[in-house]
């Protein structure tokens, strides 16, 4: 088992990165089609002058960071509350948000926004997108956090209470620290879901909130697009570096302990 697991893990990582590898190769392809016809870095050069693309990237980052923060905080609190005390309608509403097909969520939100904004004289925009994203990320956050809470021993908080901690202190100093890995996982999941969402976003976005997936979809609608591949490489490369750096820091702090 000790020998099998690392090999297995490497195989899964290879499976996950295989498509990423091919698309990065094609980002250097001279041809616009997925047929190799010579090396070029021209697509990367074009990215910097593409205003639509840059704006989309910034919008996506802003939306994903804000929405995943809102959803993770609200979701962690709700998960904790549900663990303490069941609330049937919140649980059912969360289920509903999970099982509603994206297109239905998108269309119904659009209809609702259009109806309300008509009277308020508002327009679709960043605000409506962030609201929608926080909404559909919430259930993911609650599920991940609750799954962790269910493995915790309720006696811990009782012990804290016996030692004189009030509810808030018991949550803040006993449960929350134990929850952190799940909160991190929830935040990651929410960020990923939000950053990659196309269907709902494309419906509730307004003039000022075209996101990266929207731009990418429009550009790649016709098939492989080397410029889109180049963006993907830059994004994963950039975020990958950040992750490695963070990993280094974590690793060194662990070994210094």
């Amino acid at each position: 088992m000790r020998r099998f697991l690392p090999v297995y893990a490497k195989a899964i990582y290879a499976f996950l990165y295989l498509p990423l590898f091919t698309l990065s190769v094609f980002s250097f392809n001279n041809s616009k089609l997925a047929l190799w016809s010579g090396f070029t870095t021209a697509w990367y050069g074009r990215l910097w002058s593409d205003r639509v693309l840059l704006e989309g990237t910034i919008n996506s980052l802003v939306i994903a960071i804000v929405a995943s923060s809102i959803a993770t905080v609200a979701g962690t609190l709700a998960g904790y509350a549900l663990w303490k005390r069941r609330s049937l309608w919140v649980t059912n509403a969360l289920y509903l948000s999970l099982i509603t097909p994206e297109i239905v969520t998108g269309v119904s939100l659009l209809a609702l926004f259009q109806f309300l904004f008509h009277f308020l004289h508002w327009q679709l925009g960043l605000g409506s997108v962030i609201l929608a994203h926080s909404g559909f990320c919430l259930a993911y956050a609650v599920i991940v956090v609750l799954a962790r809470l269910r493995t915790l021993d309720p006696a811990l908080e009782e012990a804290a209470a016996d030692l004189g901690a009030n509810d808030w202190e018991a949550f803040r100093y006993v449960t929350l620290p134990l929850l952190l890995p799940a909160v991190l996982a929830a935040g990651l999941l929410c960020f990923t879901v939000s950053f990659d969402d196309y269907v709902i976003t494309s419906l509730v976005a307004g003039v000022d909130s075209e996101t990266l997936p929207m731009v990418v979809y429009s550009m790649a609608r016709k098939g492989v697009n080397p410029e889109v591949n180049a963006i993907s490489v830059l994004i994963t490369g950039g975020l990958g570096l950040l992750i490695l750096l963070a990993g280094k820091l974590e690793g060194s702090s662990e070994s210094s302990r």
């Binding site: 041809s31 616009k32 089609l33 997925a34 047929l35 002058s49 205003r51 639509v52 269309v107 659009l110 259009q114 904004f117 008509h118 004289h121 327009q123 679709l124 925009g125 494309s202 419906l203 307004g206 003039v207 000022d208 075209e210 929207m214 731009v215 979809y217 429009s218 550009m219 609608r221 016709k222 098939g223 492989v224």
Partner: protein, 317 residues
């Protein structure tokens, strides 16, 4: 001003040049499907000023009160349009839209294929077994089947639609997939030998893979045109008119048509194009070929419902 368009439908510098010329800010958004655009602007407070709907959307959008009636004296460049686009059948007097680019549906095929497809019927032949694709679009698949039956692409009666459905189901054993433009990599690589495809996309693929060719099927085929429209809700009508007029300028339109390999509806612009594009038979088929073409019209609700159910039956057959 806010312009909402398909991706890759103006040249690289078009927007920047216009901004310099008029000292203004243009927000250029792109959409991936006509339905996405319609869902947005249908509310009448989307914030967009100019959109690019195709011919069959003009009637519905006008009836929904979304389009601005154009004051033609503010668009002197309208006269640059080709004669057949001065009075197109979806808007005889150009009161609501200005034709921009046009295209048609035909067959993109590899010259290495056993036979060169001249008709839709060839896509039902054993020569292409499992090496042919149709567009993933009910209007197009029904269009081809209806043409094979010798009917209009806009046919609405139940019996005709049923016959078209049966024909499409017969084709399934020969089909590799229902795939839209994404098939271009596969046909260029030789996986697929023939594909139902739009002429403009086909031209781009042929440019990259010269072993491919395009044919306009003998039984007839569907025609398309995308149009420039100003929305009723526009808060920047002054600039919107300037933008439409600017896109109609021969030089501007020619640069766009050259960069995207598109077929412009602008006669003056076409005259400025390099020979390779100006007389390209895929982009600008001869009048004799065009005579077999037919414009898509908006489908009545009942026929659309029927067609949609048949489409589900075809795909899950």
């Amino acid at each position: 001003m806010n312009v909402y368009n398909w991706d890759n439908y103006v040249a690289h510098e078009t927007v920047a040049d216009f901004e310099k010329l008029h000292q203004c800010q243009v927000r250029y958004g792109i959409y991936a499907s006509a339905e996405e655009m319609l869902a947005k602007v249908i509310s009448g407070n989307s914030g967009w000023d100019v959109v690019f709907p195709s011919n069959s959307f003009i009637g519905p959008m006008r009836e929904l009160g979304l389009l601005l009636q154009l004051q033609k004296d503010r668009l002197p460049n309208l006269s640059n349009l080709e004669t057949r686009f001065q009075a197109p059948e979806w808007d005889r007097t150009l009161d609501w839209c200005v034709p921009y680019m046009h295209s048609a549906t035909g067959i993109l095929y590899s010259r290495t294929a056993p036979i060169a497809p001249r008709a839709w019927a060839d896509l039902w032949s054993d020569a292409y077994r499992r090496r042919v694709t149709m567009l993933d679009d009910p209007a197009e698949v029904f269009g081809a089947c209806l043409k094979r039956l010798g009917r209009s692409v806009n046919a609405v009666d139940e019996n005709t639609l049923q016959a078209a459905r049966d024909l499409a189901i017969q084709q399934k054993p020969f089909l590799r997939a229902y795939l839209s433009e994404q098939v271009r990599d596969q046909i260029a690589a030789g996986d697929v030998l023939a594909a139902q495809m739009w002429a403009q996309v086909a031209q781009v693929v042929i440019d990259a893979a010269p072993q491919l060719a395009f044919s306009f099927p003998a039984e007839g085929f569907a025609l398309y045109a995308d149009n420039i429209c100003i929305l009723q809700e526009s808060r920047h009508q002054e600039l919107a008119y300037e933008w439409v007029n600017y896109l109609l300028e021969p030089k501007v339109a020619a640069t766009i048509a050259e960069e995207i390999s598109g077929a412009t509806a602008n006669a003056q612009a076409r005259a400025l194009l390099p020979e390779r594009l100006r007389h390209n038979p895929v982009l600008y088929p001869s009048d004799e070929v065009l005579a077999r073409g037919e414009w898509f019209r908006p489908l009545p609700a009942k026929a659309q419902q029927l067609r949609d159910r048949y489409w589900t039956e075809i795909k899950s057959a």
